[in-house]
């Protein structure tokens, strides 16, 4: 497929996952803070912004740090490229550029989602029923991914879409855990039950977790599940395995590309590590490190497949001219 199309499709997947995950982390933070004193709330919101890498941009615009200003910035501020409306808009722009590679159903789902966000009064939604708005974003993203999985052939287009999805999800899973867990686990504090449940719920993992560990919520178990579960589709390990599989099919059969090496190594590390190793090493630092590696993999992927402008023309096999 065209290098430019692969890149657009990859980013379409990334932006959709980003919108969904932003809604997830906002949801956890918002509901975790409902009964907290203002000072603690302020600290948590700043932490969330920092984890999303948007603290500077936010502070350049706002003096007040509270639920309203931060959630508006992350949901409806069109000048913030990380806001949900922007991410969905960018996903749509990218999808529009590769419409002929997507199924009509996929395009329609993305386009409808974008139009719906524009038709709503998001400020009022946030003030009155933030929970429902976050739920809506999540459901729409799930609709899109469901439609993709039901209507798209498993070709390279699908694989780049999945890669965008999985790499963004892996990165955002690191962020999600960092928001409510990094500090807690490092300090050995016991997080409150609602916060622990919130983390699981935000990853749609509460029910799946209980099937494995029972009703008691243990921070170590939660970290173990969300990072190392081989069969849960939002766990870090699962995302990396999936990404590795897609990279293998895209690549040349007898060759290991650089993104494959980075992802494969990281996948193997998580596959054979014990959760206690992660906790001992300091969860916060570990999550940062993993996130950095995922980012490197995405950069290597772009170089390999999207920017192959330096390919040696004379090494390419083609029919003789004329």
């Amino acid at each position: 497929m065209l290098a430019r199309h692969a890149e657009m499709i990859f980013w379409c997947g990334r932006y959709l996952e980003r919108a969904e995950d932003t809604a997830r982390v906002l949801d956890v933070t918002y509901h975790g803070l409902l009964e907290s004193p203002p000072a603690e709330a302020r600290r948590s919101w700043l932490e969330l912004l920092a984890v999303l890498g948007l603290a500077e941009e936010f502070l350049a615009k706002h003096d007040e740090v509270n639920a309203r200003t931060v959630s508006e910035f992350l949901v409806l501020d069109a000048t913030n490229p990380g806001a949900i409306v922007s991410a969905v808009g960018l996903a749509r722009e990218n999808a529009r550029g590769v419409r002929e590679l997507l199924s009509s159903e996929f395009w329609e789902a993305v386009n409808t989602f974008h139009l719906e966000l524009h038709a709503r009064d998001l400020r009022v939604d946030l003030a009155q029923q933030a929970y429902e708005l976050y739920g809506l974003v999540r459901r729409r993203c799930q609709t899109v991914s469901g439609v993709a999985s039901e209507t798209m052939p498993r070709d390279d287009g699908w694989r780049f879409l999945m890669l965008g999805w999985m790499l963004e999800r892996a990165e955002m899973m690191c962020r999600l855990l960092n928001v409510r867990f990094g500090e807690v686990a490092a300090a050995g504090e016991l997080a409150s039950f609602p916060i622990l449940l919130g983390v699981l719920r935000s990853a749609s993992a509460a029910e799946a977790y209980r099937k494995v560990y029972g009703a008691a919520l243990d921070p170590g178990h939660i970290v173990e599940y969300l990072m190392l579960a081989p069969n849960f589709p939002r766990s870090l390990l699962y995302c990396l395995r999936q990404a590795e599989k897609d990279l293998l099919r895209i690549g040349a059969p007898d060759d290991l590309s650089r993104p494959q090496r980075i992802i494969g190594r990281l996948r193997a590390e998580l596959e054979f590590c014990d959760v206690q190793d992660l906790l001992d090493a300091g969860l916060h630092a570990e999550l940062d490190r993993i996130q950095q590696r995922v980012r490197e993999a995405a950069e290597a992927l772009a170089l390999q497949y999207f920017r192959n402008v330096t390919v040696d023309l004379h090494a390419v096999d083609f029919r003789p001219a004329g």
Partner: protein, 490 residues
């Protein structure tokens, strides 16, 4: 028509597609009128909302330049379809095939032939030389089978007597076919019972026919030709159509930077390296195709593309330089070209046209400018026209001055009172002026897609049907003759 829809409907002396001068419904509209009569205005309004939602969801939009907000608009489709009976269509089809065949012969003769029509005085040499569309860079670029107008859009109008006439030929990058296909999809969804009552010839094989035609003109050496669609990009007003066609054909939609030329061979950049391209269905204007030969400031094109085409390694469709044949002054010579190349009488007449470098014609035109239409020879899309009867004295004076300064740059035509068609306005029908753009493909045979794009001037009394200027469209139904299938043989 039963029901209240057509109550008080008045053709007002125009040729009306649906209603005969005696107030009866024409035979080929009767079934449609009966079916529509069963709908209340409220029900039709509900169907209109359904239609709008369907178009918006599918993202079928065109871009309006120069408006910050509302960048994308839907192209309004009127719910009342246009119906063309089988015998009428057969005559149109034959006329179109004849015209496009002659135009292909003429263009091939000009660019790679001996210029017989010029040599034999059918078209004056100076007229060709002075046409903006006559492109030096196209000399010697071969097009397999001479299919230079691979896709032609021939604009037809019906005059006061109902005679179909050719208003203009669009031989460069005619657009609009995507609306033809999408309108049909929308009609069958929004008014299935009305559609189902007729035997309407299908249009949805267009993608397959276009791909077959493009593969047919591939360079001889290409075994299994790789076809691509070349677009200026997502910000082009017709981008939706470019993507639509690529999808219909199952080929790549590329932009200039996706292509690279090496040793006169064209490649596209893919995730697996470079891949050879054999046929380019380009939707970029000539000027922007190749910065080496044409406009040097073009970032849309591909350096070296024309040389690759001249070497016979890639086919560009439509061919470079077609603009000379849809120059509106050359248009006046098309009937003569048909006689010259085909030794046939033209089946579809032109609109009466006056050539302004001829002193006698010019003086006559300047005397009655207020009765005529004046068009710049190289423009399309309804830009820069003078409509005499509705122009003010200042405007008339301005055009008088321009014509005297450069008589080659304009033509004058009699005003055609375009036929009208009942069109839904609020809760009732009113007559609105329409035209028709059928699409003609030059592949293994010359093929006309049944119907085409009927454009309708939605503003009351307006004769301008262009989408950029308040026009809408109608689904166009060509009825199958008795015993004729509605879909072509595979």
């Amino acid at each position: 028509m039963t029901g209240e829809l057509l109550e008080g409907y008045d053709p007002e002396g125009f040729f009306d597609e649906l209603m005969a001068p005696d107030g009866t419904v024409r035979a080929h509209y009767r079934r449609l009128a009966e079916r529509l009569g069963t709908f209340t205005p409220e029900e039709l309004a509900r169907r209109e909302r359904l239609r709008d939602a369907a178009f918006r969801t599918a993202g079928i939009t065109f871009t309006v330049y120069g408006e910050g907000e509302g960048l994308e608009r839907t192209f309004p489709m009127d719910l009342i379809p246009r119906v063309i009976p089988a015998d009428e269509w057969a005559a149109i089809e034959a006329g179109l095939v004849q015209r496009v065949t002659a135009l292909n012969l003429f263009l091939d003769d000009l660019y790679v032939g001996e210029r017989a029509a010029v040599r034999d005085g059918v078209v004056p040499e100076w007229l060709i030389q002075s046409s903006d569309g006559f492109t030096r860079e196209a000399f010697g670029i071969p097009v397999p089978r001479g299919a230079r107008c691979l896709v032609a859009g021939i604009d037809l109008v019906r005059d006061g007597q109902g005679t179909y006439r050719v208003l203009e030929d669009n031989l460069r990058n005619p657009s609009g076919i995507s609306y033809v296909l999408e309108n049909r999809v929308a009609m069958t969804r929004v008014l299935p019972s009305v559609f189902g009552a007729e035997r309407v010839r299908s249009v949805d094989h267009y993608g397959a026919s276009l791909l077959a035609a493009l593969r047919h003109v591939a360079p001889a050496a290409a075994g299994d030709p790789e076809v691509v669609v070349l677009t200026p990009g997502v910000f082009n007003s017709a981008y939706f159509e470019h993507a639509f066609l690529a999808r219909q054909m199952g080929v790549e939609l590329v932009e200039g930077p996706d292509l690279v030329v090496d040793e006169h061979v064209v490649f596209m950049r893919t995730t697996r390296g470079l891949q050879r391209v054999d046929v380019i269905y380009r939707r970029i204007d000539d000027d922007f195709l190749d910065p080496v030969c044409l406009r040097e400031d073009s970032v849309l094109g591909v350096p070296g593309l024309l040389a690759a085409a001249r070497a016979g390694n890639v086919t560009i469709a439509n061919a470079v330089g077609n603009g000379v044949a849809d120059d509106k002054a050359v248009y006046a010579y098309v009937p003569a070209l048909i006689r010259y190349y085909l030794n046939q009488e033209p089946l579809l007449p032109n609109v009466d046209t006056y050539l302004l470098w001829d002193r006698e014609q010019r003086e006559d035109v300047l005397d009655r400018l207020h009765e005529l239409v004046v068009k710049p020879v190289a423009a399309s899309g309804g830009y820069g026209m003078l409509i005499g009867p509705s122009a003010g004295e200042l405007e008339l004076e301005e055009f008088r001055r321009r014509i005297e300064a450069d008589p080659r740059a304009y033509i004058a035509q009699e005003v055609v009172q375009l036929s009208r068609h009942p069109t839904l306005v609020g809760d009732h029908l009113e007559g609105r002026h329409i035209d028709l753009r059928p699409f003609v493909l030059s592949g293994e045979r010359t093929e006309v897609i049944p119907g085409g794009l009927t454009r309708v001037a939605l503003r009351k009394g307006s004769l301008v049907v262009n989408s950029s200027q308040g026009g809408g469209s109608k689904d166009t139904w060509v009825l199958a003759a008795a015993g004729e299938p509605t879909t072509p043989e595979p």
